[in-house]
Symmetry: C2
Subunit: 408 residues, 2 copies
């Protein structure tokens, strides 16, 4: 409902934002009463949406609810180019099919958060793939080396002697060109994108457009309480994960993160009774955490799913029983050597850990059980047939039942 | 005559060079007995060839004389792109017609030095203009920001806070791509090009080619005895300038530059009798300079031209007479204000000075005469008609006769 009370819209839209460039400009755009085009760039190199990214998506949904248009930019062009120097781990080169696959999965998951109305999905290959050398040189002339080296991550890498490919200086310009091409009124993202967003403003002005407003949202710290939530660090809660998984993971959250998690991952109002009670010490941290976990599960699995997940969590955790439904993993025997497969590999295959090294560390620490017996040898290996039906357990809450198909 | 004595070729070709990358590689290439492709890149943004650039051209001619192929690369693509940021004074944007004009003038002058046999002239727009964004990104991924900032001029500008456009980081890569496209065996240039040439070697190897050898020649210090010879600094001797002009300019050379000028601008052998006599103090500097000046004039205007220029120089200089042939300049009256044109502007128009500021400075210093009367007012202005036929003199050796066409 553009045209409704601007003060109210402005307060709602800038709530929880870290950087707003600028209140005055955003007010001016809102006052025109026309739906704004709100850009969100997505790097389709992974496919899981977690609570950290959901912070930005939920902000975008607020714009939609107020009648504005969400413009999702799939960065398929840059994902397909990757970093041909092979230097940057964050720029793998993906095939078109991979990008399409990630994009589809992404969009499906976004349905949980975004409205399908007032949603425009664009691929930046539509305008970037056809640029010629003169266009690229013109873009490259729009900023300076010194300015690029002011960007926090570049500054650190340069100071630390880590190589920065000259190509990496071009990517922020291409991302800014996206804003020009879709005529963005607002761009949303994490605080780590502020530099790029400001560069986009400059490009728009150089092209005779009004500069986009910029809204950055906080980067959510992951379950480890230290690093930014990310799939590759394993410290994340996916919005499409099973209710019990989400609930259990959130119960492991460090207490000091509860306030930002309430604020950024749930619809619970920060000024509401629960958070107030927590702050006053009238609500025990563990109960507050249950409230938080239920709220998140309800948000992504529907009302009531939180209660069910909590009940299951209690049954398993309190009774130290195995859960009623244990997921199954069919063994990939291609990793077997001399007819035996290492348990560490099986744990990784099954997704209970992210690497063989992590599995071995957990075994050494006594955190892995096989059919309720502790596993002590990090190099333990078994014949696949002997693993059929076995229940592997990692920590207190994660089980998998192994199925071994008979060899052909 | 590839296949002739390699040692002899190698000694001749590397004589006077500053950097040779490397003797061993060049020997290996020469030993194959096939004509080498020797690249020389030319920036067609100016059209006068001076003695400084001739140092490199004469080295290229040596290669030709030994049976190798000179491959001139006209950098027409980059000249046409220029620096759209307008930041770099060295990268004006030229039209195709301007580039063609400069190129033609260049090639005409080169006839004085290069042989027309074994000469290939290429334009880099042939392969650069059609590059797409993916090609450019791939090239940009081939080097790092840190490596670029090691280049001497970039390092200085970065340290000094002068802006370096990101585009400027792409130009050395494009120049290197030229080497790949023409499959250069050797690249020639001034010492300030060493960084770019080494980058080209890397690109060639990444493309599966043998890396080019690199030969850099010294940058000739200009007549001012301080800065590199360049047209824009006015401290140059053009190879197509009139004999008396060349002779007079060279007579103003600081004594300490005579040795490098003998070595790099004349065919006089450094170990020959003239230079030896000069070194031993048996030849007065002024006589050595006459020898030098005659040798240069002979080189570009034919045997005997040096003697004639010397005679004319003596007549004018010694007798303080005006020369027998004074060049004429037809007034461009578009600079007149209120019917009067400033002498400073006229001096600049006529090419006696390179800027109005220089003209005003010379007037203040008492170095300008009009019809043999000293001009004292740097803002002196006259009606164009009154200047018709007037002789303007700058310093001791430069005159121009003004012609004012009657207003229509």
């Amino acid at each position: 409902m553009p045209g409704s009370d601007t003060d109210e819209q402005l307060a709602l839209l800038t709530a929880n934002a870290v950087d707003v460039v600028s209140d005055a400009e955003l007010r001016r755009k809102l006052e025109r009463g026309k739906p704004l085009r709100v850009k969100l760039g997505i790097d389709p190199t992974a496919s899981d949406i977690h609570l950290g990214f959901a912070v930005v998506l939920r902000k975008l949904r607020q714009f939609q609810d107020l009648g504005h248009t969400a413009v999702l930019i799939l960065g398929d062009f840059t994902a397909q180019v990757g970093d041909p120097s092979g230097r940057s781990a964050s720029r793998p080169r993906l095939s078109k099919a991979e990008v399409d696959g990630h994009a589809t999965t992404y969009l499906e998951q976004m349905d949980k958060i975004l409205s399908k109305d007032r949603l425009e999905v664009r691929r930046n290959s539509d305008w970037l793939a056809t640029l010629g050398i003169e266009d690229v040189l013109r873009l490259a002339s729009r900023t300076t080396v010194a300015r690029m080296l002011e960007r926090d991550d570049f500054a650190k890498r340069y100071a630390g002697g880590s190589p920065i490919s000259v190509m990496e200086f071009l990517y922020p310009l291409l991302q800014g060109w996206d804003s020009v091409m879709i005529e963005a009124d607002v761009e949303l993202g994490g605080t780590d994108q502020l530099f790029n967003f400001l560069l986009a403003r400059q490009l728009q002005e150089q092209e005779g457009q009004e500069a986009q407003c910029v809204l950055t949202m906080p980067l959510l710290v992951g379950l480890d309480g230290v690093q930014k939530m990310s799939k590759s660090l394993g410290n994340y809660v996916g919005i499409s994960e099973a209710p019990t998984e989400q609930f259990g993971k959130l119960m492991s959250l460090p207490d000091e993160l509860m306030a930002p998690y309430f604020a950024h991952t749930t619809p619970v109002t920060v000024s509401g009774p629960a958070v107030t009670a927590l702050r006053k010490g009238e609500l025990a941290p563990v109960d507050a955490k249950r409230l938080l976990a239920r709220a998140v599960v309800d948000l992504y699995h529907g009302d009531g799913a939180g209660n069910a997940a909590e009940a299951e969590f209690d049954r398993v955790f309190k009774a130290k029983e195995t859960p009623s439904a244990i997921p199954e993993h069919v063994l990939d025997v291609s990793e077997a050597v001399d007819g035996r497969i290492r348990l560490a590999n099986v744990l990784r295959q099954a997704g209970l850990v992210t690497s063989n090294a992590e599995a071995q560390r957990l075994i050494t620490q006594g955190g892995v059980r096989c059919n309720d017996e502790p596993v002590t040898d990090p190099d333990a290996a078994l014949e696949p047939a002997r693993l059929d039906g076995a229940v592997l357990q990692v920590g207190r809450r994660r089980w998998i039942r192994i199925r071994s198909e008979s060899p052909e």
